[in-house]
């Protein structure tokens, strides 16, 4: 089951859905908003998705995980909009007969989600500025910071 939602993620319901009499293991992964990144304070993260494509890619990831591992239940939920510190932006739950498969599938799902699914986060910094996170791209602000650091050495 895959879902994009603007509501806070209800982990208890997700664990409930992952439970199954044939399962010996459930692994739940939560990605949560971290308050500090390289010493800068985050007020919130703001998530945007290409909804139709994100849902399709998430469904493909679930299908592929089921091909690779003996997955019983698989739940992937990504929250959109503003996510304050300590709250979850993503939840992945996998149940399998034996635990090593649940860990492997859970880790593969979050790694693949972060690489392939068209969802983006924007940092909302404590100084009031915002900044889209696009890995591999050096933004103007980061360049300035680097220059300042270099000069001060």
């Amino acid at each position: 089951m895959i879902q994009l939602t603007h509501e806070p993620i209800d982990t208890a319901t997700i664990v409930e859905r992952a439970s199954h009499p044939q399962a010996g293991a459930i692994v739940l992964f939560l990605g949560t908003t971290r308050e500090l990144t390289n010493g800068r304070q985050t007020v919130a993260l703001d998530y945007e998705a290409y909804g139709k494509m994100a849902e399709r890619k998430l469904a493909e990831l679930e299908a592929e995980a089921r091909r690779r591992w003996p997955v019983i239940e698989c739940i992937v939920v990504h929250r959109l909009g503003r996510v304050p510190p300590a709250e979850a932006s993503v939840a992945i739950a996998v149940s399998t007969p034996h635990r090593s498969d649940a860990f492997a599938a859970g880790q593969w799902l979050i790694d693949s989600l972060k690489r392939d699914v068209p969802i983006w986060k924007r940092e909302e910094w404590a100084d009031g500025t915002t900044e889209w996170v696009h890995p591999g791209l050096v933004n103007h602000r980061d360049t300035e910071d680097t220059e300042k650091k270099t000069k001060s050495i």
Binding site: E48, R115, W132
Partner: protein
């Protein structure tokens, strides 16, 4: 041929719009479209080399030949999770 390109995240903010509209040649590819976007929307030039294309909600290669019916989206580096 007229095409629309959906934009997200920094691309949307840099362009000031969630959709671009461009005229391109019939049988143009996504590679051609990238050149056209760079020319007509200079604000996107720095971001463009780092983007992928999606056609009908699936990643598509640069040599994909555009038709008028497909939904085209510019995909900047993703950061979900």
């Amino acid at each position: 041929m007229k095409v629309r390109v959906k934009l997200f995240a920094a691309a949307r903010e840099l362009a000031g719009s969630d959709t671009l509209e461009l005229e391109i040649a019939d049988r143009a590819t996504l590679a051609d479209l990238r050149l056209a976007v760079a020319k007509e929307f200079p604000a996107l030039q720095k971001l463009l080399p780092h983007t992928l294309w999606a056609v009908d909600a699936e990643y598509a290669a640069n040599d994909f030949v555009i038709n008028g019916r497909s939904e085209i989206a510019l995909i900047p580096p993703v950061s979900g999770g």
